[in-house]
Amino acid sequence: MSTTSGTASSPDARTRMTLRINGESVDILFDTYKTLLEVLREDLGLIGTKHGCELGECGACAVLVDSRPVLSCLLLAVECEGCDVRTVEGLSQGSALHPVQETFADLGAAQCGYCTPGMLMTASALLERNPDPTRAEIREALSGVLCRCTGYLQIFEAVEAAGRILRGESTVKPPEEGR
């Protein structure tokens, strides 16, 4: 990591470092004051990550840092050197959706879609460490992400359905033609 000219307090100070994002190493130069959220959206064009408050209150901006969900609006990008950052853009494999994306789409877990990326990243982290969570564990894991549309129930069902797919108990329905 290197910091460009400018005093410590100067907002002009820029930082150059290498971030590991969605499995790729990215060399990046950014304003040092920027949060991870801002660097993702403004400097890297990863606008799949949303924001609802930029104060750590809504959870919409959740991304995975070293497999753990964190609020990207509360984390400075400079704190992420050497970390593995994963965003919604890295959830699918090419054009094949992650099971949790498939079930969110099929079961009405995304209405306006604004909290969805944060919800998906948090849910995928849960399923990664516990592919068979109870309803209570799902509620607990997702409690930091607010959704104003769904009432959460279809989200819980989608996470449970994705768990069944990840455990090999059911398969992703073959997508209908044209999807």
Binding site: C58, A105, Q111
Partner: protein, 851 residues
Amino acid sequence: MSPAQRQARFTVVGKPRRRVDARAKVTGQTRFADDLFLPRMLHCKLLRSPHPHARILRIDLRAAADPGVKLLLTGCDMPTPYGILPVSQDEHALCLERVRFVGDPVAAVVAVDEQTASEALDRIRIDYEPLATIASPREALETPEPKIQPYGDGNIHKKVALEFGDVDAAMASAESVFEDVFFYEGNTHLPIEQHAALAAVDPDGKLTVWSATQTPHYVHRALARVLGIPAAHIRVIATPNGGGFGGKSDPFNHEIVVAKAALLLGRPVKICLTREEVFYCHRGRHPVLMKLRTGVQADGRIVAMDLQTLLDGGAYGSYGVASTFYTGALQTVTYEVPRYRFRGCRAFTNKPPCGPKRGHGTPQPRFAQEVQLDKIAVALEKDPAELRKMQIAKPNSLTANFMRIGTIGLGECIDRVVEGSGWKDRRGKLPFGQGLGLACSSYLCGAGLPIYWNALPHSGVQLQLDRSGRVTAFCGATEIGQGSDDVLANLVAEVLGIDPFDLRLVTGDTDLGPVDLGSYSSRVTLMMGHAAIQAAERARDLIASAVSRRLGIPLERVVFAQRRVFDAEDPDKGVPFAEAVQIGEAQHGTLGTTGSYRPPESEAKYKGGGVGPSPAYSYSACVAEVRVHPETGWVEVERIWIAHDIGRALNPVLARGQVEGSVYMALGEALLEEMAYRRLPKHLSGALVHKYPSLLEYKSPTTLEMPDVVTYLVEQPDGAGPFGAKEVGQGPLLPVMPALANAVYDAVGIRVDEVPITPEKVLRAMADRKSRRFGPSDFPRIDWPEALRVAPPAEGGDGTAANEKPRRRKDDAIVAPDVAPTGLPPHPSTPEARRGVPSSSPASQPPEVLR
């Protein structure tokens, strides 16, 4: 064709499906307004008032200058007033000479980035002269001066009074009369997406504005008005909204400011409001104080209802005149109310303006009536479910206030939740601390009248088909998460026998699609739906006639299904859909059709009868089960059973989501959420400030608070709806709050006649051994105007008021011209104002602006 026959042949409608825009949403690729970036784009920030009410004496912009700052704007740069209702054009893009609430925008900075703009805001100096503030409607009634708005009567924005039949006589003949006072606190939409807008000047000099708006058509009109450029040179694109709930239905300051800035600078300008600013935009649920008197027969049948409402409107008109009428208009649609008097009053206060939130003006009086019915049931020792069932409004009838009702599935709704919850065996029989409560409601499926009077369709759909088999549907309707795009694709695909995913949709764009009035009043499924079906049937007929001729199939036997067009009696005789389009194109030329919809004329001819009529009404019933902790007052919701009369569910996955989302939002209102304000102490300016303009402090339910919900979709197709469909986005919210209040009574024997039902209120009611109640004690005396007297249909009325002066017929105009509200003084820059036209408000002089 009978509904049953239609249902038999449905291939898309009614099937649980992935919504057409799901993939974009789960991959994060939906482009919300703040996700748009254009080359050379600049960023805008607004400076907002720290005073709840003050004159602006001087604006000193000099210190804000900076190489990174490209433009500074103040009110005098956009002096034309605007507002959502033609009768309340009382807003300015930036305040002219006065601020009216903490958060009213005064100046704008456009800079190379948000950081530079924010820093420049801090360097703007504004001198204010604070004015006395009005904190509540009671204060507004008692304090006519200083006037917050130059129009209205003192600080009273609007008073309405309507009477349908002789209510006093009916009350006198009633076996008993129940009288209660209720209060419903204000709350806000809290969409997770903050409002954002981007404006750019196109290469040909025209203006494009992308915005997170539910009503691009109304934003379009406001922009044309304030910017003074032809509407045809302005394009508004409603980006998919990250939640709306009514909060993005007004034209907003920031939309006009970025448009003006883009025009002046010739560069794209974007703004994204902070979460705190979203709280200041508000336009949420009005706090309403209500006095409800209901006369009943010995068996509990209603003979008359007398309702008074007092609304806290905040500082501007917004939808307030409509909101005021809505606190009364739908009270007659759920149960039979033979005689009805409604008087409503909206006051101005120095708080962010209230407007339409999911249920617009209806949840408050519904809470009052449903809680009172529970009290009546207890007093008459009747089952609250039976008391309601025996007096449900009649299908295919006209209410006392001339609302035309079609189908009513409420009886079945009540049966379903009663059965599901074990109501008959469990209500009144659970251990102390546990209880069940029931409530019902109805809601409109689209306002019968547009916001500005016009003779045009409320929704239009255009289809374009080509030889590849492509079908593109164009419509101004706005996707706010409710699934309007899916409804459009669903209905067109159903008629043309293709898959919804085959369609290409162009929506929410005023340049490319026919006008749809917007995503409000639960109107889109019904109105856009009819337009879509009409356009699709016209396309189908064109193709069918050509295919019939070409393949020698009798026209009446041509069927569209499974992406084929074929002979119903010989399915092998047919062609793929794309080939059928080619045959159609060969015969008719380029294929394109349109469809449009305008609601039927209302039978409510009296003044004020424009609010409430709808092509159809949906019905809901809810049972709530709660556990009340007597030591803490905490109300835990164990389970909700809710049945909604949807007419027909076009996509049950989405319909269920709307019901559960409504229940969720209702629970937030019922138990947690409030837009509350407090006065700071004198030494801290004495300002009237929002108690908690943050998501952390404004408590909304998380995954941990959301109870299980059992949803029943009751399908009794209504002839007025597309394939029989009615609304589902707002109605299911309405019965939840009163069901909870009634469940709290069943659990611990107390009445909380207020929303939200907080632990503190529960404890205070439990501590009051005498009344066992918490709630407002009185309704202030209001000097009501003489009520317009309208005889109900059953008493020979024709929908007009006996004591109303004949009104000017608007029918001659195609589009009514905008009218300024009466009493608004001339704009400060006009010669009349400079000559000093008398005004009861403090001197209106434009502030000095130093650049």
